[in-house]
Amino acid sequence: MADNTEPKDPLRYRAYYWLLNLSFVFALIGLAEHITSFIIDKSGFGLEGSANLIAQIIVNIFGYFLPFFLMVAKFMRDDYMEGLWKRTVVVLAYAVAISPMVFVLIAWGCELGLPHDSAAYSIWRKFYEPFITPGQRGDVIVSVAWKDYMWLFVFIFQFLRWRASR
């Protein structure tokens, strides 16, 4: 009997897309948690005790460490994915270069444009204060920046992949 089944791509290539999709979902969850923690002033995932801790660990593994692994896992990318990766890294480099200027513009915009007794201003200050507080621990700032770059890598890669598929 003839075998009419189409040959599948090597597992490592398929796994790269699966893992990228997985990290995308968890990056969205992490981002949502990050945003809501500023708005409702409560961090976590609405769970209690160790369940919340476990959820945090899972989100950290799949939302931050998995993108880092995908960033360096060249052996899992073929020529096309490598092209997408290079374009992603180029956009990421621009984002890294421009982000301090955007941050300053947003800071000035919020400080001058938002009424200082508004809820939006208090949310903004909650986000901004770690960056301007004297004696703020450097590792906290670095870890926030690292998380942001991991998110950016996943979001840019997924966007370019989506755009290329159209």
Binding site: E6, P7, D9, R14, D78, D79, M81, G83, A164
Partner: protein, 64 residues
């Protein structure tokens, strides 16, 4: 960059997945090259040329 990959593949009655397997890339890579969405790297272009036993310039054409 334009290319004749789809024609060459059709002449050999290969599916995209089959060609991808021969080149050790994903089917998406073959599809992206055929539709002009991705220009292959030089090593992959050489692999394609070797597979079809043709010079690279007979497969890929610079649009300019």
């Amino acid at each position: 960059m334009k290319n004749r990959l789809k024609v060459l593949r059709a002449e050999r009655d290969w599916s995209q997945a089959e060609l991808a397997g021969r080149l050790d890339v994903s089917r998406q890579a073959v599809n992206a090259i055929e539709t002009g969405k991705h220009d292959p790297s030089l090593p992959l272009a050489f692999r394609i040329a070797r597979l079809f036993e043709m010079p690279i310039e007979e497969i890929f054409h610079d649009e300019s």
